[in-house]
């Protein structure tokens, strides 16, 4: 996971661990926008994302001593945020997902590449974000963890509580849901025959 566009805040973290309010302010100032955006992608509403951002930073105060300075701070922060958002979603049970690790519906075909290519070509970032809001919580969370915060398959597996080998299934299924939401094209999402 790459670090943010700013240098590692080693000194600020050390001071924050010592209880320096100014250092906390600096960390918040530097990382709150990214965490808010993470939560905004992962949670259903803007208000949820605002609450979650504040709660993540509140949690951070209690967890900062667990942070290992040899690892990127932003990566650790995203894990805290992902954990919080996933807990929030699970508690609410907004939408029942396929929680089991079944692979009955796992598409195995070779989809029509040109059709998929066209769909991607025609869709804008804004449309993707809109479609993201229509996904189930696990699909959404998986995509956000993977494509927003660049978490590894192992980290995603830890957060979602699934086997590492199943993460690919979750992600591919999430992509299909997204395509469905984008196009309403079930055939494409299921993987058309070549």
């Amino acid at each position: 996971m790459s670090s943010p566009g700013i240098a590692e805040p080693t000194e600020a973290i050390a001071r924050a661990k010592a209880g320096d309010a100014q250092a906390w302010g600096q960390l918040y100032h530097d990382y709150a926008p990214a965490i808010f955006r993470f939560c905004r992608r992962a949670l259903p509403t803007r208000e949820d994302a605002e609450d979650a951002t504040m709660e993540v930073f509140m949690k951070l105060k209690g967890k900062i001593n667990q942070y290992d300075p040899s690892r990127p701070f932003s990566g650790w922060l995203y894990k805290v945020a992902a954990n919080h958002c996933w807990d929030t979603l699970r508690r609410r049970k907004i939408r029942q997902d396929k929680e089991t690790e079944d692979s009955d519906e796992l598409p195995l075909e070779h989809p029509d590449p040109s059709q998929l290519d066209r769909l991607i070509e025609q869709r804008s970032s804004a449309e993707v974000r809109k479609a993201l809001a229509c996904l189930g919580k696990r699909a959404r969370m998986a995509l956000v963890m993977r494509y927003y915060s660049d978490m590894s398959y192992d980290e995603i597996a830890d957060e979602l509580g699934v086997r590492r080998a199943f993460v690919g299934v979750v992600l591919l299924r999430a992509r299909h849901e997204l395509r469905n939401a984008l196009e309403g094209n079930a055939a494409l999402a299921a993987g058309g025959k070549a």
Partner: protein, 574 residues
């Protein structure tokens, strides 16, 4: 590679002698295959155009997802921006101290300015009433207080509505609902019937006349080169012109912006004028308040109430029912004054025939001249104006200290109540060119704009509110500059209380520099320009949609995670 197995692990063990399935393609694109399998996929894709296209499409899909996720489509909400301060520490105990200190500051303000002014008005014989009483009930200054009360009611309603919106924010999803609610509220307020009002506007031609036999029921707004009222206006008169003659009868007030105002007729209300010359030969039943170069009340002229003037030359040959308060260069009294006189200026003369029923106090450069024919109830109390003596007076320094403390306390309250805005203002002050430039514009432009706004009835409320805001900004300028100077001396900080500490040091430095003879005036002027500009810049930024703070760059770069010899998104392999 269409296999019968649904197990992703098993699937990967199959030979790549058919098309790639989507899962394998995605894992390859994501760099999740081991090296051997990735090489198989790579080799296959070099020979199979369909699989190459699939891999490219999956790769583009990954990029689209990353781009959609990372795009900064909305700024950090203000609630989160404010959270930083509230999360830092509990401020409960501070509030008591702040309000205590603010009360001390308010007391200093009252004893320093309000009380002396109140005493001055009382000494001037305004019926022994308080300033508040005078302004509100006697309407000595402004008839629009009723409108202000209405404005306050509207503001109160808006405050309640705003609180309700905040309270219900969680239940109102999206800005559209809030906006719709506000619009609905405004529409509802607008539909409330307003009292019937007959108002006549006249601005046609160079000369506007109200004929002798003409009667206007309601207020009259007249704008032209010359305005002449010979008939009757059963209401207030607002005139904006070069010359105005009131020879008829006005039952309400007259508010005039004119080079020359002549009152030969009868005005049942007050006259408030901003003129070069005001002549009163007729009868004003209530009070006269004027900002002018010259004011003459002729022997036939009569003012039933008080006369308040800010001018160069005042001559009273006629009668004034109550008190005279005059700030000007020369004042000459030859008429009958029913109350007392409070005057400040260069000279004060009482000619033969002058009669004054109340006390006379004069503060000026020369002793008052009292003719032997003048009849004064009490001898004039004269105070010689003493220039430059204030620097030798210890009281001057005591009050300087008190005022500095008051400014600091005021700044403390502002910084604690509005920490984000205070920090933003101090940041703005560091943009020296923009602050000074905007400061010049605001210092001179806003009062002019407020004055122009006052020309209209509705605009009068806006104009006066703007002027009050301008005055507040003028006062706050030294606090902002003090914070900057403090940061110069003690280093930059983002923490509120450390910034307050720097503000305290800076304000003291700025006020000491402002006391230096000759140079101090320029220092104060520069402080006003700089501070007002910074505050205006911060206000402008506050009401401008914020730009998002720099955030982490794209953390996902799929191409870098691809195995060697990949052909995804690049020219087709040979």
């Amino acid at each position: 590679m269409n296999e019968s197995s649904n197990n992703p692990d098993e699937r990967l063990d199959e030979h790549l002698d058919d098309h790639l399935d989507e899962m394998t393609g995605m894992l390859y694109v994501e760099g999740q295959l081991d090296r051997q399998r990735a090489q198989q996929v790579s080799a296959h894709s070099q020979e199979c155009p369909s699989c190459r296209t699939l891999l490219r499409a999956l790769e583009r899909e990954s990029r689209l997802l990353t781009r959609a996720m990372l795009e900064e489509d909305e700024p950090l909400p203000s609630r989160l921006a404010a959270f930083q301060q509230s999360a830092q520490k509990s401020m409960q105990w501070i509030w008591g101290a702040v309000f205590g200190l603010a009360a001390t500051g308010a007391y200093a303000l009252y004893t320093g300015y309000v009380e002396p002014m109140q005493q001055r008005f009382e000494q001037a014989g305004f019926g022994g009433s308080s300033v508040l009483n005078l302004m509100i009930f006697q309407g000595a200054f402004w008839k629009g207080w009723q409108s202000m009360l209405t404005l306050l009611e509207v503001l109160a309603l808006l405050t309640i509505a705003g609180s309700a919106v905040v309270f219900l924010r969680r239940r109102l999803r999206g800005r559209g609902s809030v906006f719709a609610m506000m619009v609905a509220g405004i529409c509802a307020a607008a539909t409330v019937p307003s009292p019937a009002m007959a108002t006549e506007f006249r601005n046609q031609g160079d000369t506007i006349e109200v004929g002798k036999d003409e009667t206007i029921k309601g207020d009259l707004f007249a704008h032209g080169h010359h305005v002449k009222i010979e008939g009757t206006v059963d209401g207030d008169v607002y005139v904006f012109c070069q010359g105005a003659d009131i020879e008829g009868h006005v039952t309400g007030d007259v508010i005039a912006f004119a080079q020359m105002l002549r009152v030969n007729g009868k005005v049942d209300g007050n006259i408030r004028s901003f003129t070069n010359t005001t002549w009163v030969s007729g009868n004003i039943a209530k009070n006269l308040l004027t900002f002018a170069e010259t004011v003459n009340i002729d022997p036939t002229g009569k003012v039933g109430g008080s006369v308040t003037t800010f001018l160069n030359t005042l001559t009273i040959d006629g009668a004034v029912g109550r008190d005279v308060l005059s700030f000007g260069s020369e004042a000459t009294i030859a008429g009958n004054i029913g109350g007392g006189i409070q005057a400040q200026g260069n000279t004060l003369k009482f000619n033969s025939g002058a009669q004054v029923a109340g006390p006379v106090k004069f503060k000026g450069n020369h002793a008052p001249e009292v003719s032997s024919g003048a009849k004064l109830a009490i001898p004039v109390v004269f105070t010689q104006e003493e220039h430059h003596k204030r620097y030798e007076d210890s009281g001057f320094y005591v009050w300087r200290v008190i005022w500095t403390a008051a400014v600091i306390l005021f700044g403390l309250v502002l910084f604690v109540l509005l920490p984000n805005f205070a920090r933003s203002t101090v940041d703005s002050a560091e943009r020296y060119g923009a602050s000074f430039g905007l400061g010049v514009l605001v210092l001179f432009g806003v009062p002019i704009a407020a004055f122009i706004a006052c020309i209209t009835v509705v605009g009068m409320m806006i104009g006066i509110s703007t002027f009050i805001l301008w005055m507040t900004t003028l006062f706050c300028a030294q606090i902002v500059v003090g914070a900057i100077v403090g940061q110069w001396l003690m280093g930059h900080t983002r923490e509120t209380w450390q910034l307050i500490g720097r503000m305290v040091v800076g304000v003291i430095v700025v006020r000491v520099l402002g006391m230096i003879p000759f140079l101090g005036g320029w220092v104060r002027f520069a402080v006003v320009l700089w501070g007002m500009g910074a505050i205006s810049l911060a206000i402008y930024r506050h009401f401008t949609p914020p730009r998002t703070v720099a955030v982490p760059a794209s953390p996902v770069m799929p191409p870098s995670s691809l195995p060697p010899n990949t052909t995804i998104g690049s020219p087709q392999p040979a």
